[in-house]
Symmetry: C2
Subunit: 137 residues, 2 copies
Amino acid sequence: MGLEYQAPNLMAALENRGHRATAPRKAIARLLEQTNEGFTAEAINEKLPSVGRATVFRTIKLFLELGVVCKIPMMDGSHLYGLTRSVCLECGAMVEFRAATLNRPPGAMGANSNGQAVNHHIELHVTCDYCRVDWGK
Amino acid sequence: MGLEYQAPNLMAALENRGHRATAPRKAIARLLEQTNEGFTAEAINEKLPSVGRATVFRTIKLFLELGVVCKIPMMDGSHLYGLTRSVCLECGAMVEFRAATLNRPPGAMGANSNGQAVNHHIELHVTCDYCRVDWGK
DNA sequence: ACGTTAGCTGATACGCAATATCATCGCAAA
DNA sequence: TTTGCGATGATATTGCGTATCAGCTAACGT
């Protein structure tokens, strides 16, 4: 039994709230939806040269407010943006987590992955009750 | 059954590795150990005016390398430093998490806390196998 | 105790991510 | 077509963290 996420339609969410469907927004939405990956704002900017830097941040912020995109703070101070998933804060890799895995002692994590069993450490960072974030659903 | 953490002795770890026990380092170590809280570098700098800005960052980095302090990336791009614990990425509050809690559906989280039962969302961010971080223990 | 030296410190400058500002552009309604 | 407001892109600015460097000091040998 894992944690299920429903991938949202970015442009639909945008238009449903009365926002305009412009070319830059479509390009960013397509990029985020087509790839099973999180992007930094700079990566989006590089992949979409026709879209201005400020517009990248504005569009991302809009998607965040609409709750269809999530923002992941990374170790180097930058952020990763993408459809809601579990993300490694260190390397940005998307990792699927199942509740059963979290019930085991930390050492059991390595056995599930294709990496070696190393002496590693797991940290859980969550958005707590007080913040009342309603990003995803 | 919860996740247990052993709070490390910062200065001891430092000296055991041949680093010097200077006044600025002692002050920062005392601050981190005495308070059940994470600090931003700026907060440490404000609470310890006698310690220079660069030294705050250098000392934190040293503690990180020694594995006695952990670094939490926050939503605004800054970082929180403290002894290893579970931290809300949004407000920085220290939250104790138990494995049993993670096994329940997301909605069950609110019932355990002293906040109201709100429609909230939980994200799990972890350092994954590939990174092989050996911060804590 | 004292001098030597490698490690440490603080002041400053710098790089980079993200935001703010503002004139211009363009979609949508009348 | 005209009008109005949302959206865009260029630029300037903020703020966290790092790099540099001359001066200081804790730790060690004599």
